[in-house]
Symmetry: C2
Subunit: 338 residues, 2 copies
Amino acid sequence: MSARDLFLGIDLGGSKILAGVVTGAGKILSRAKTATPFSGGGDALLNALRETASSALREAGISPARLTAIGMGSPGPLDPARGLILRTPNIAVKKLAVGPWLSREFRAPLVLDNDVHMAVYGEWIAGAARGKARVVGLWIGTGVGGCVLWDGKVVHGVNRNAGEIGHMILDARRVRPGKPRGTLEWEASKTGIARHVRKAVRRGKKSKLARHVKGDGERLHSSDLAEAFAAKDGPAVAAVENSAWYVGLAIANLFDVLAPELFVLGGGVSSALETSYLALVRASALEHAFSTELGRPRIVLSRLGDDAGLLGAVFASRDTPRAARPAPRARTSPRRPV
Amino acid sequence: MSARDLFLGIDLGGSKILAGVVTGAGKILSRAKTATPFSGGGDALLNALRETASSALREAGISPARLTAIGMGSPGPLDPARGLILRTPNIAVKKLAVGPWLSREFRAPLVLDNDVHMAVYGEWIAGAARGKARVVGLWIGTGVGGCVLWDGKVVHGVNRNAGEIGHMILDARRVRPGKPRGTLEWEASKTGIARHVRKAVRRGKKSKLARHVKGDGERLHSSDLAEAFAAKDGPAVAAVENSAWYVGLAIANLFDVLAPELFVLGGGVSSALETSYLALVRASALEHAFSTELGRPRIVLSRLGDDAGLLGAVFASRDTPRAARPAPRARTSPRRPV
């Protein structure tokens, strides 16, 4: 890598697409952001990704030809080697070849991995997990994602999609096949928080968030949630406490199994609520961990915040050996993306 | 290690103590077995351990002076470096310096680790997990233990007691601080199975196991359980199905997080019920795992059976560098253990 190498980072999230041009040293030269299109399927998503990436390039004033590589994080399950989104619970696409397509559009090799894998890798290179060999990240946003980083490497596992901590079943007796009920994500995600607030409002409780959780298109933003929590809004406080309680419980489970050096919390909910959320998670983790005589769970907040996924994707594309990166296939049309 | 090196293996379980003299190549020269003393505290336990080990030495016809090292597995939590049992849910001891004591008694260095860590290490060296780099073991016996073996090394973690899969919380809403309710062990262990059968009997159901689960000293043996299960004894079948369902669910959780190459099932319940238990566990794991497009959980039975813990302890003491083994401290009395 030369100091002049430039990378395009893309962070596809359940709420928004973030793209940026970033130096190999992690300096962000430009940022662009759009809302994730939930309906419209693959075409709408690919167009939104291209537009966001093109904006980032335009803003940085560089042409795609300057790009050394592209790193992209996406919700899973994925086929990282082939650059496919297999399916995602939060965006309506199936077996979408997003990697090869973007790689062709911008004529640069692309590394695709789970969005939270990218974010935790970013925290490991340049954030809260620097210098730690064994780290577990939990990202509490629209959904709940996770990543196990073991001896400095992201654990992908035999299914290439390890780290799906959000799908950890914590309420076995509430599980029904194929349904998200009973999982960590069901209780702890922003979607789960909104559901709890909505239920409370329907039971007649008053909440500042009532209009954000109606489910008629109005969406709950993490910043609104944080505001309501700070104002001691009853349903908001209860739902956040419930979310943090479950996250702490999942951390206790993972601590009992793996006892990593560090847990990192990130994602919209955690970033907006910050230390108040962290304190609740810590209390629950310490209450539920079994074996703490010789070491206790250590839990910290993400330091890179909203940029974790973007930076991690860039670092991953930077650190992936050139031979392992899928080569961009020949373009079939002379169209330029920007 | 020379071919003439002999090792003493000790497997302290929730039901029985197993000791044996074993060659460095894993050939078992003698075996001795006694029931684990549940009450009587540390002294009773140490005496029982000494007697069992002495029997094994006598039967093999060798003196302690011939021992290269001792390997011992014990339920946790432990302080492996100092050879302490910190506490165990199933045996009434606290901060018991079992390692230094046995090491003095038999004048040989002793390596102490969790009983299931030892068993899974045994399976990795000479059993069902040979040649696999990333393995998770679940041992379903009196309690439920576990072990993560990652890149060929047992994961001990920052608390030195990782692998406590039995304490994974799977019914969050049933958990009360400090109580075992809501954990995998609560549902899946032989103790949990006995509780379920007992409840069914109290509700008026007929079961061949009724007298084994009264809780008045009569104990449920895995062989009786297997017999009742084979005879389609209603309460036995339901309790075993429940146990396997929870084990499969825990495996699904661990698969979603780590996606290891292999899961190994061992312990009394699994060994007695064999393939019928395995089939139930597999069905539940496949039903609950989230991301199986590119790889599915692979689950097999222990191959070393009852000897896994003993052999694993011997292999661990054999493979621990001499410098890392605690040296036996000088004896304060000339008493001989055998």
